[in-house]
């Protein structure tokens, strides 16, 4: 069995398109991370200003100054420290951006002129304990990973589509008449598909985390995602989880997504007589649900959101509900993934073994 699995892996990685997809996803990760890093801007409102590395340093220094639990006193201190020193020319101060911390406090506690809006921490966050610090790097990484994981799904489809369908171009004759052709071979194919999905997802997740550490350091993993700059305020997860928890959920959802997509791809690969048909069918089934006009407030989203494309889009699914045990609704993506994978692997093996050579 081990030999057969190794041969299946070799078949996949000997295909030029698979290698292009794999290299492409790494390049895309690097490019998107570097681009986000380079586009960072920060000013301390006095003498320091810069972009890229300098901006990250400025943001970190400012965040360190206010590190710890968010209190009304800290809010007042920040409002004073970042009070506009020049005419805003009609700009609403809520949208003012000097640095990540200033933006975070102004977007919640400022009026349009940059003065305190009268809200306390408990008015904005209720009873939640909000730990603040340098979260901009991790949140930026999280946002990048949404795009990277969507591309990862595409890469997984490209790599897995030929697993069964390419055999129907003539090798099926030989495989299905060999001793293990209808049994272990099909199992080896399914196993190889799952291994490819898991390994690729692991490598991409690790690579993105390493890039994040290289660009932004490791600070802020235990800080709340809720006290973030205005870039992340809207359409972001409304629950008091830490950056570390967010990343854990997001990476878990990347795995559930690629495993679900593996199930779908293997199934369609086994029933399609050629690779193009299998690819188009898989792409349609995986990506079509994003076009559905169902938002996370719609009760139906609890079902639709468990489709694999919503796993990698993460934010919508993570925004559905925080359950009584503190877990997010997104945890249901795990059984959903097992269902997709189970159905896909069971039927793909069966379809391949029962395939009639014409």
């Amino acid at each position: 069995m081990k030999k057969l699995i190794l041969f299946e892996l070799r078949k996949v990685f000997s295909k030029r398109l698979s290698l292009i997809a794999l290299v492409g996803i790494f390049l895309f990760s690097a490019l998107i991370s570097f681009s986000a890093y380079q586009n960072k801007y920060a000013s301390d409102g006095m003498n320091a200003e810069g972009s890229g590395k300098a901006a990250v340093e400025i943001d970190k220094n400012i965040a360190t100054k206010y590190e710890g639990l968010l209190t009304d006193k800290k809010v007042q201190q920040m409002m004073n420290d970042f009070a506009p020193t020049h005419d805003l020319h009609g700009l609403n101060a809520v949208y003012l951006y000097q640095n990540a911390t200033q933006s975070a406090v102004f977007s919640r506690f400022s009026d349009k002129d940059g003065k305190w809006n009268g809200l306390s921490v408990s008015d904005v966050f209720g009873d939640e304990k909000i730990k603040i610090g340098y979260v901009d790097g991790w949140l930026s990484t999280s946002r990048n990973m949404v795009r990277v994981f969507v591309a990862l799904v595409l890469a997984v489809i490209v790599m897995l589509v030929p697993i069964f369908s390419s055999e129907y171009e003539g090798v099926d004759n030989i495989i299905l008449t060999s001793k293990y052709g209808k049994s272990k071979c099909a199992t080896a194919k399914v196993t190889a598909g799952i291994l490819i999905a898991i390994l690729t997802t692991t490598m991409i997740a690790v690579f993105n985390l390493l890039l994040a550490c290289a660009f932004y350091g490791t600070e802020g993993l235990d800080c709340s995602i809720l006290f973030a700059s205005s870039d992340y305020v809207e359409a972001f997860i409304p629950f008091n989880i830490t950056c570390g928890t967010l990343l854990k959920y997001q990476i878990m959802l990347a795995f559930t997504s690629t495993l679900s997509v593996t199930g779908i791809t293997l199934f369609l690969s086994a029933i399609s007589k050629n690779q193009i048909v299998a690819f188009v069918a898989t792409m349609t089934i995986v990506f079509f649900p994003v076009l559905l006009p169902i938002t996370e407030v719609n009760p139906l989203f609890r079902l639709v959101g468990l489709l694999p494309i919503y796993h990698v889009l993460a934010v919508s699914l993570l925004s559905v509900e925080q359950m009584s045990n503190g877990m997010l609704y997104a945890i249901w993506a795990i059984p959903a993934a097992f269902i997709f994978l189970g159905i896909g692997t069971f039927f793909s093996r069966r379809m391949f073994a029962k395939h009639q050579v014409i």
Binding site: K3, L4, G170, I174, T177, S178, G181
Partner: protein
């Protein structure tokens, strides 16, 4: 070993590809002859259990091959008429892969792969990628993979297609040496290949077996139907088109000997000759014959 085919039928929609075949095969080499569309490939696929029959069954030593599953496939070697390959695999790696599928252990797989590459004259190209191979080389690789597990039942669909005469002779010798205590079934359009190595001939037409027996037995059916006649070369082409002609041989520049298959002598000077398997094949499968009357010069 006994392979019984009982009432075997395969239909594709309204078309019947194999129609109620009943035959018992024991150890030996069987040549399967028939025109395109006669049902040979479908019959072979049914024997390999990669197509499900519409009706009927195949029994190996009285047990259904479907129920035997892995045990049956373990005895089977199959060379398909058309087969795919992995372009970036070397011939040797491809054989190792098929060996793994056939359940050979690592050591045996390496040994058998090398031996068979040698046997089909591909040992020098063993490490070359299959995408660099010619059609004939791929065919030889196909023959090698079919024999990896030392099969007791070897089914070869057009094994000599694309092989040059030297390779065809090599193949015939390989099969002859291999065939002891085995069932070997091979289909081909090259009648001479079958004539040389097959002990029994199965002739198929329209999905049915129209003849089954050794070459002498089945050619005896047209013992009085093969003629040779000498005509002026200028008329040779016209007569060859009008009659079921199996051969034209030019002699003395202006005379041609025609070998014609027909119920009656085609010319007054016709001489009856001993039929060959090729004559029999043409007798059944030649189409578009216009003339059956006797002419004179």
């Amino acid at each position: 070993m006994k392979l019984q085919i009982i009432g075997l039928t395969k239909k594709f929609g309204s078309k019947t590809a194999v129609n109620d075949l009943n035959i018992t095969l024991t150890n030996g080499v069987y040549g399967l002859l028939g025109a395109n569309g006669a049902g040979k490939t479908t019959f072979m696929r049914l024997l390999c259990n990669i197509q499900t029959p519409t009706a009927g069954k195949i029994l190996l030593n009285d047990r259904n091959i479907v129920a035997l599953g892995e045990k049956y496939r373990n005895l089977l070697g199959y060379l398909p008429q058309h087969f795919g390959y992995y372009p970036d695999f070397s011939a040797y790696d491809f054989l190792l892969y098929v060996s793994a599928l056939k359940g050979l252990d690592e050591k045996t797989a390496r040994k058998k792969s090398k031996e068979l590459l040698e046997a089909v004259d591909l040992s020098k190209e063993g490490k070359h990628k299959i995408k660099t191979f010619s059609g004939g080389m791929k065919r030889r690789l196909g023959i090698a993979q079919a024999m990896l597990n030392d099969p007791r039942i070897l089914i070869l669909d057009e094994p000599t297609a694309g092989l040059d005469p030297k390779e065809r002779v090599r193949f015939r010798n390989l099969i002859s040496a291999f065939s002891k205590e085995r069932i070997v079934i091979l289909s081909t359009h090259i009648v001479s290949d079958v004539e040389f190595i097959a002990e029994e001939i199965i002739m198929m037409k329209s999905g049915q077996i129209i003849h089954f027996g050794n070459p002498q037995e089945i050619t005896s059916e047209i013992n009085d139907k093969v003629w040779e006649c000498t005509i002026p070369t200028a008329y040779a082409e016209k007569y060859a088109a009008d009659y079921n002609t199996s051969n034209l041989r030019n002699i003395n520049g202006n005379q041609t000997i025609l070998r014609i298959i027909g119920e009656r002598p085609p010319m007054e000077n016709s001489v009856r000759v001993q039929p060959t398997l090729e004559d029999l094949y043409l007798f059944y499968f030649k189409e578009g014959v216009k003339n059956e009357k006797t002419n004179s010069f």
